[in-house]
């Protein structure tokens, strides 16, 4: 029951992340600001990594799903720093 609830919550989080990615894609289409593209990419990766982590929960390979998440945060970090430098 507890595992089912955690899976449900992670699924909802993945769906929310994918929706946020789509919103940032829309922002990028309107403004062509690369920061929005980076956020869209990162949240797409967040969604995918949450699904992967849930599916691989009992597997040693689950750490690679988290490595993907770390890379996504790195993408955002670089994009923010680049934007701050440009402005």
């Amino acid at each position: 029951m507890r595992n089912d609830l955690a899976t449900l919550i992670n699924g909802a989080t993945a769906m929310g992340s994918a929706t946020i990615a789509l919103i940032f894609v829309r922002y990028w289409f309107r403004s062509r600001d690369s920061l929005f593209a980076a956020f869209a990419l990162a949240f797409g990766i967040f969604a995918a990594s949450r699904v992967a982590a849930s599916l691989l929960a009992a597997d040693d390979h689950a750490v690679w799903a988290y490595a993907l998440r770390c890379a996504a945060f790195g993408v955002i970090l670089v994009a923010i720093l680049a934007k701050n430098r440009a402005t």
Partner: protein, 86 residues
């Protein structure tokens, strides 16, 4: 060892993103930055809990707290983006 570095990397990068976004919001007071900084603060909490769960207290199951914190962060950010959508 690799896993520990990955979880630590998640925690550090997520906290760094949250700090930069909060600083950006404090400078500009833009609504978009407000929702992003709130969301990323929640994601930073989520990743700090991930590191705690997997490395510091592996014998204690705090996965539910991790899941809820991640969902809360996404809901706050999504709600704010939708609310302020033009």
């Amino acid at each position: 060892m690799t896993a520990t570095l990955v979880y630590l990397g998640c925690a550090i990068t997520s906290v760094a993103c949250a700090v930069l976004l909060v600083r950006g919001w404090r400078r500009s007071r833009a609504h978009l930055l407000l929702w992003c900084s709130l969301g990323f603060t929640g994601l930073a909490v989520n990743n700090l809990l991930l590191f705690t769960d997997k490395v510091l207290v592996p014998d204690i199951d705090i996965s539910m707290y991790r899941a809820v914190s991640g969902l809360a962060a996404v809901i706050i950010m999504l709600g704010g983006l939708v609310w302020d959508a033009e």
